[in-house]
């Protein structure tokens, strides 16, 4: 099933009411915005980092639709309180955290993170290097102890990972196996640890258990396409095969939640495509997948839900479509005669559009495809391109080119994380 069909776009009303439970994050450094985040019809303002829709300040976070059902006055829909639990968790959240923090000495690697991954979502987890993604995932898997905050995975607190890891598969920071053992033997070790086929007692039952274990190992090897190399040493595998074995290991327990950390790291385009197809297939079974990646184009293609962090803090979480819809669309024009650029800017400016002129500069390090000509940039949706063209023609200005531009996830990410300024990104992407 295509990823975008797996979740309906978030209902703003529902999301807003649901987001009340997320107000905890407000007041932190990243919550600077005031919830505008949406472009105006003609003059959309470029959202600043932290002002993204779904950021802690303007949360239209993904609201599980079931949570609306059965709401009663005085209760928050979809919220259940657990005895002994310090915070309520939405009943259909696969992963939920409140104020999750990890601190090493004075350095906060994860800072007051409020996550909500809906059950059944294929959720991307993005952030620059050192943003705290792996540490967050490690905390969710019980490998690292949180310094503060609370977190639940599949409804269970992370302080008792044994309660949910039996239903969770994970690959953290790449596939790690014994290089001297074959894929099958490596998986057998993990299957034994997980108790696959070991609960039987007695000789015949033990044999049945062993058969069940081997069958499960064969199944996951087949699922990731490693059957033909199953008996080769792990050390002899290509990076792509290692990644696939890592995913196979994560699939061993028939998990309800799959957590993958950079599953496409170091892969060639063919390998990336293989993993993408594999993840789509797995997601089609209804499993919740939480996948961190640097490859934003991949995330944009396969994920319907997104979590974006920087310096351990939440920048955005919600539907990918919501994030991109709120981005600043632009129309880029190159007049035939350079002298007309200022005049065109004036005409469009007097029509109420926000205009910038980008003087291309060959000394700049970022390559531009529109060389040696001024580019008039109108902050306007693509639908206005024809009107703008008519305005230019009426003024006697011939356009060498006119093109619309809507930032993709990569540009949005770079802008939000502050790695590249928006204009630079826009120019690079406006080709």
């Amino acid at each position: 099933m295509p990823a975008q069909h797996r979740h309906a776009p978030a209902d703003p009303v529902t999301d807003a009411s649901h987001a009340q439970g997320h107000s905890h994050a407000q007041g932190h450094g990243h919550a600077q915005g005031h919830g505008h985040g949406h472009a105006g019809p003609v003059l959309p303002a470029a959202p600043a980092a932290g002002d993204l829709p779904g950021s802690a300040s303007s949360v239209p976070q993904t609201a599980p639709r079931q949570s609306r059902a059965g709401s009663r006055p005085g209760t928050r829909p979809g919220i259940r309180r657990r005895p002994g639990g310090s915070a309520p968790a939405p009943s259909d959240a696969a992963v939920w955290t409140r104020g999750l923090t990890k601190q090493y000495g004075q350095r906060r690697v994860v800072d007051q993170l409020d996550l909500l991954i809906p059950a059944g979502a294929l959720s991307g987890f993005v952030g620059p290097n050192g943003a705290g993604k792996s540490t967050t995932l490690r905390m969710l898997l019980g490998l690292v102890r949180p310094s503060a905050g609370s977190a639940r995975v599949l409804g269970e607190p992370v302080s008792t990972p044994d309660r949910y890891l039996g239903r969770t598969g994970a690959m953290i920071e790449g596939p790690t196996f014994h290089p001297g053992l074959s894929a099958r033997r490596n998986l057998e070790q993990l299957a034994l640890l997980r108790g696959v086929g070991t609960r039987a007692s007695g000789a015949r039952r033990s044999q049945r258990g062993r058969r069940a274990r081997w069958e499960r190992i064969d199944e996951v090897l087949h699922q990731v396409g490693l059957t033909s190399r199953a008996d080769d040493r792990f050390g002899s595998y290509s990076l792509g095969m290692k990644q696939r074995l890592g995913i196979a290991a994560a699939l061993l327990p028939r998990p309800r939640l799959l957590i993958l950390d950079e599953p496409t790291n170091g892969l060639d385009p063919a390998g990336i495509r293989e993993i993408r197809t594999l993840l789509r297939d797995i997601a089609g079974t209804g499993m919740t997948i939480f996948v961190s990646s640097h490859l934003l184009s991949e995330v944009e293609q396969i994920c319907d839900h997104l979590v974006m962090i920087r310096s351990g803090r939440m920048l955005f979480q919600g539907h990918v479509a919501d994030l991109l819809a709120a981005e600043d669309p632009r129309i880029l024009m190159v007049p035939e005669r350079d002298d007309d650029a200022v005049r065109l800017a004036g005409i469009l400016g007097s029509a109420g559009l926000r205009i910038e002129i980008e003087m291309t500069d060959e000394a700049r390090s970022v390559p531009t495809l529109v060389e040696r000509h001024p580019v008039v940039v109108a902050h306007a949706p693509g639908g206005l391109a024809a009107d703008i063209n008519r305005l230019a023609m009426r003024a006697g200005i011939t356009l060498r080119s006119i093109r619309t531009h809507r930032p993709n996830l990569e540009e949005t990410f770079l802008k939000a994380t502050g790695d590249v300024d928006g204009d630079l990104t826009m120019r690079g992407g406006a080709t």
Binding site: R138, R145, L190
Partner: protein, 261 residues
Amino acid sequence: MINAFRAEWVPLLRRRFLVGTLAAVSAVAALGAVLTIFSAGRTDFDGDPVTVSMLAVPAGIAEGLESVTILLGVVALSVTAAALAGEYSRGTLRTQLIAQPHRLRLLGGKALALALFVVLVVAVAAFVAVSLSFALAPVKGVPTDQWRSWAGMATIGRSLVNVSLGSLGYAVVGALAAVVLRSPAAAIAVGLAYALPVEMLVGRIYDPAGGWLPAHLMEIMAVGGTGHTTPWADAGLRVLAFCGVSALLTAVLFRRRDVTA
């Protein structure tokens, strides 16, 4: 814990590791047997004379094995440190902890499997040493009648137990070094550096310390207390105390530390 125990045998039984370890202990045991038999009529390491009649007694059958207890301890320490610290440095520990989140169960299963592995390794060493001693005894004219007696067989059994206990003591040191340092090379280097030169230096400089130095006490245990002023039982109790503290430290660190590798 039984799952962790069974799972640990998968990497322990990988061919290269198994053949390498058994070859190493066999070589060590053979060295001990050969040097012991051929030392008849000469003096030993400490300058004491070794005679054929001394070797002909029932206890003589285990002399070859007991002469290399330190080396067997080194093997036990190295195997344990490499197995445990290797899981950290390779990153396989995090995969295993996701499969078995009960850290103490995982550690317990691993420790049990490694302990059994060490005992099996010592058994192989004993087999090689005893077999070679029988094969070489006629060369130096050492009679083996008493070796074949019940007393001789009992000596082999006792020696096997003692050497195993001594080696397990080294293994506990290896486990602690592995969990503290989380690198096989560092764990083996530090473990051996402490057990061999450091203790030897301390023992030589301040003789009474010998009765309290863990590796020295393990050596006393391994050789059944023969030739040492500290009785076997005392050495055993002290080793037990040291190992208990080490095991506790190992367990606490293993359970509480973040797995960041």
